[in-house]
C-alpha cells in the first residue's frame, strides 16, 4: 500500500512538473545563445550556495564549485570546448599541433594582456604549467596528467603529457587549467596571497574585492583580447546565500539576478512562476547506485546485487530524482554524450519482485536483510523511493542522511552497503571510471566499488587512450557489459541541476560539470 502511495505521488509529481520538462528544453536552447554583444554599466549579482575557499584553485591545489565559477571570470584557458558539440576552439592558444602522442605544441595569441598589462608569453605559460599545475596539483586533474612544459619561443609552448589520450585537449578547457603569469602572482603578493586577492589573469573580468562572508566583486576587463566578447555587465557581484529558499527569494525580490546551484525539487516548484525564470538542466552526469563488493558486505554476493537491481523501480526513481525532467538511465554514460550506450533494454529495467526474492533466497537471505546507505540531504526523496522498493523484497535499508564531509569520509572508508555517486562524462576524460581502475586517481577513493579486475582496468585505459572515437565507443560497450554482467552498479538517472534567474536575463550557459557560467549573461 505504501509503495502504491509513493508511486502515485511520483506520478502526480510528473504531471505537476511537466512544465519543468519544457523549462529544460528552454535551458538547452539558452545554452546555445551567443555571448552578449553590447556593454552596459549595469551590475549582475549572482548568489552562490557557499563562499569559495580560494579564488585561484590551481594555486590552492584544489578545485571546488564556487571557486571554479568565480575564477572563470578572471582567468583564461589555452583552449575552449563547446559544451554541446565538444568541439575544441581557440582560447589563449590560436593553434595547436600534436608533435607525438604525448607532446602538443601550442601557438599563443600575441594580444592577451596579463593583469599588469604585459603580453602573456610562452615563458609565462610554461611557468604556470610547471610551477603551478604540476608542482601544486600532483594529486588532482590539474597536475596529474601533465608532465611539464617548455617555451619554444616567445609565442610557442610545448606541453608534455604523461599519457596519450585525445581527451587531454578537452581537459585543458576546464577552469582549473587557467593560465596566468609569474609576474602577476608575485605582484599580487605571492602564491598564497594570490588565492585571496587574485590580481592575476588575462580574463574577461578583473578582481576588485573579496569581502569575506559577504561578497566578491569583479569588474569588466576593458582590454580583453577577444573581439567577439563584449561583457554586457560592468560588474559581477557574487553573494553567498546558503539557504536555497532564501536564494530564490532574493531573485524574486530583485536583490539577486541569479540563484545558482538550486536543488532540482525546489527549483522546479518555480517552473510556472512569472516572477522568475527557472532553468533545469542536464549537465552530462549520470547518477549510479554503487554496490560495496568488499568481502563481508551482503552486497559482495552477486545475487544480492541483482536482486536489488530487479527491485528498483527505475522510472519512478528517475521521476523523483530529476523532478520529472528525464527518463531513467539505460547505460552508464549520459544520454547526451557521444559515448552513451543503451546497455539495458526497457524489459531489463522492469521491476521483478518475485525474481528478486528468489535471488535473495539463493543468497541465503530468504528472511530478509538490513543494508545501509549514506547520502546527501538533497537526494532524500530518491532514497525514500529506493528504501520502499527494497522493502518489497525484504530488505530494510537504513538511511543515513549527512553533509558533504561525512559523505566523503563514508565513501572513502567503504562503510556502506550501497551508495549513490554520479560520474560526469560528456566527452572522454582522462580520469574516467575512477571506481573501477586500480590507480583510482580522481575523485572519491571509494572503499567499496574500487574492487575491479585487470581486465576492466586495462579496458578503461584503452578507452581513454584510443585515438579513434568509434573504437573507443566499442571498448566502452565491453566495459559496460562486464559491469552489467557482474552487476557492479545500477545506473539510475541523468542528474539535473537547477538555477533561478531574473526573468529579463538571457545567455544562461554552463562551464564544465554544470557550473553556472557567470560571464555570458545579458538582457
Amino acid at each position: 500500500m505504501r509503495f502504491r502511495k509513493i508511486a502515485a505521488f511520483a506520478m502526480a509529481a510528473t504531471m505537476m512538473l511537466s512544465t519543468a520538462v519544457s523549462t529544460q528544453a528552454a535551458a538547452v536552447g539558452a545554452n546555445e545563445d551567443p555571448a552578449n554583444t553590447e556593454k552596459t554599466d549595469e551590475t549582475i549579482t549572482i548568489a552562490l550556495a557557499s563562499e569559495p575557499t580560494t579564488l585561484a584553485p590551481s594555486l590552492s591545489g584544489t578545485a571546488a564549485n564556487e571557486a571554479q565559477i568565480v575564477s572563470s571570470t578572471l582567468m583564461d584557458t589555452l583552449v575552449r570546448q563547446d559544451k554541446v558539440t565538444n568541439e575544441i576552439t581557440p582560447g589563449l592558444a590560436t593553434a595547436w599541433e600534436w608533435v607525438d602522442d604525448t607532446h602538443c605544441k601550442f601557438t599563443l595569441r600575441d594580444d592577451a594582456k596579463c593583469y599588469n598589462g604585459d603580453t602573456l608569453t610562452a615563458e609565462d605559460v610554461a611557468w604556470c604549467i610547471n610551477d603551478v599545475w604540476v608542482a601544486l596539483n600532483a594529486t588532482n586533474d590539474t597536475g596529474m596528467f601533465v608532465a611539464g612544459a617548455v617555451a619554444d619561443d616567445e609565442h610557442t609552448v610545448t606541453i608534455e603529457f604523461n599519457l596519450a589520450s585525445p581527451a587531454l585537449l578537452g581537459m585543458l578547457s576546464w577552469t582549473n587549467f587557467h593560465v596566468f603569469s609569474q609576474a602577476d602572482v608575485e605582484a599580487a603578493g605571492g602564491m598564497e596571497q594570490a588565492t585571496k586577492t587574485p590580481f592575476i589573469g588575462t580574463g574577461r573580468y578583473r578582481f576588485v574585492e573579496w569581502k569575506t562572508t559577504e561578497y566578491i566583486k569583479v569588474e569588466r576587463n576593458e582590454d580583453y583580447w577577444d573581439p567577439d566578447y563584449a561583457g554586457y555587465f560592468k560588474e559581477i557581484v557574487f553573494k553567498f546565500i546558503g539557504e536555497p529558499a532564501s536564494r530564490e527569494a532574493n531573485v524574486e525580490s530583485g536583490d539577486v539576478d541569479v540563484a545558482a546551484d538550486m536543488p532540482v525539487i525546489q527549483a522546479s516548484a518555480f517552473a510556472e512562476s512569472d516572477a522568475v525564470k527557472t532553468v533545469l538542466y542536464n549537465y552530462g552526469q549520470n547518477g549510479h547506485l554503487w554496490y560495496n563488493m568488499t568481502e563481508g558486505h551482503p552486497t559482495a554476493d552477486i545475487n544480492v546485487r541483482k536482486a536489488i537491481d530487479l527491485a528498483l523501480d527505475f522510472d519512478n526513481i528517475a521521476i523523483v530524482g530529476t523532478a520529472g525532467t528525464a527518463q531513467a538511465a539505460t547505460g552508464y554514460i549520459d544520454f547526451g554524450s557521444y559515448y552513451h550506450n543503451d546497455t539495458y533494454t526497457p524489459e531489463e529495467r522492469a521491476v521483478d519482485i518475485d525474481k528478486a526474492k528468489e535471488l535473495l533466497a539463493e543468497a541465503g537471505y530468504e528472511d530478509g536483510l538490513t543494508l545501509n546507505t549514506t547520502y546527501l540531504a538533497e537526494t532524500e526523496t530518491v532514497h525514500a523511493v529506493i528504501k520502499e522498493c527494497l522493502r518489497q523484497i525484504g530488505i530494510d535499508l537504513v538511511l543515513n542522511p549527512t553533509d558533504v564531509p561525512t559523505f566523503v569520509q563514508t565513501a572513502n572508508s567503504g562503510d556502506y552497503d550501497i551508495m549513490i555517486i554520479g560520474e560526469w562524462m560528456t566527452d572522454r576524460i582522462p580520469s574516467a571510471f575512477p571506481f573501477i581502475r586500480w590507480d583510482n586517481i580522481h575523485g572519491f577513493h571509494m572503499g567499496g566499488p574500487q574492487t575491479t579486475t585487470d581486465e576492466l582496468d586495462g579496458l578503461v585505459h584503452q578507452f581513454i587512450e584510443e585515438k579513434d572515437d568509434e573504437t573507443a565507443l566499442g571498448i566502452l560497450q565491453q566495459i559496460e557489459q562486464i559491469m552489467k554482467d557482474d552487476c557492479m552498479v545500477s545506473n539510475l538517472y541523468p542528474e539535473v541541476k537547477g538555477a533561478i534567474l531574473n526573468p529579463d536575463l538571457k545567455g544562461f550557459t554552463t562551464l564544465e560539470r554544470g557550473y553556472v557560467c557567470p560571464y555570458n549573461f545579458y538582457k
Binding site: 529558499a245 532574493n250 524574486e252 564531509p405 575523485g443
Partner: protein, 321 residues
Amino acid sequence: MGRYIVKRLLLLIPILLGVSAIIFALKTVTPGDPARQILGNDATEEQVQAKRDELGLNDPVIVQYFRYIAGVCHGDFGESYRTGEPVLEELVPRLATSAKITLGAVAIGAILGVLLGVISALKKYTWVDSLVLVVSMFFQSVPEFVVGLVLIMIFAVNLHWLPASGIETWKGYILPMLTIGVSSIANYTRITRSSMLEVLGEDYIRTARAKGQTESKIVMRHAMRNTMIPVAQSIGTHLGNALGGGMVLETVFSVPGVGKYIVDAITARNYPSVLGGALMIAIILVVINLIVDISFVVIDPRLKTTIIAGGAKKPKKAKAA
C-alpha cells in the same frame, strides 16, 4: 559587590572548560576529516595524514584539548583551517554584527511585548486581552526560520521595501531583527501581563487610586517600575538566546554574523572556528547574566542583599518603594 562580580567571573572558568570539553568530545565522534576537507577529495591518504600531523589532529584528544586551552589562556583561539587567519580576528567583526542584530531584536521584542502586556493587563478578560495573547503566542509557536522566510516574501519580494539578504545598508538589519524580535513578543507579553496584574493588586496602587491619581499616571509612575523587574530578567535571558540561536536566521538572511560563522565552520569541519565561536558566545552569555543581575540592584538597591547573599538567586518581585 566587587567580590560578587569576581566570584561570578571566576565561574566562567568551569563553564568555558565545560563548553570546550563538550565540543572537543563532539569533534571526536563527528564523522568528516578536517584534513580531507582542506585538501579536497583528490588528496592521497599520505597527504591527508601529513596534514593531520601538521594540524595536530593525530595527537590524543586530551593533548589537543589542553593545548587548545593553553592557547585560549593566552588569547590564542587558534587559526581557521579555512582561511589561516586567527579565529579571534575573524570573530570580532562578526560578533559586532550579531550584537547589533541581537540588541535590535531584543529591543523590538521587549518594546512590543511590554506594550502588549500592559494593554493585555489593563484590558484583562476582554477580547483585546485574548487577541493579544493569541497573536503573540502565534509568533512564538511558528519557527523563526519560517517567520523569516514569510517576512522576506512580504517585505522583500512583494513590497520591495527591504533587501532579502545581506547587510550592505542599514535596511538589511531590519528583517533579521524583526524575525528574532517578533518571536519573543509572547514571552514579554506574558511576563508583563502577569507582573502588571500582580502589581496592580498591591496596596500602594489602591492608595494611589484613592488619592485620585489618573490611571495612566498610576500605571506609568507606580506600577511600571516593579513590573519591569521580571521583564529585565527576561531580557537578559533573551539576549543570550538570540545571540546563540541566531545561527539559522543568519544563514537565511545571509548575515555575516557569528552564528553563520559557526554554521559554515561546522559544515567545513573547521573546528578552531567552531570552538572559538562557541566559547565566545559562552563568555558573552555569562557576562550578560552578570550584567542583568547587577542591573537588578540598580533598579532596586534593596535587592543587593538578596542577590549577593544568595548568589544568582533573584526574587520574583520587589515591594514598592
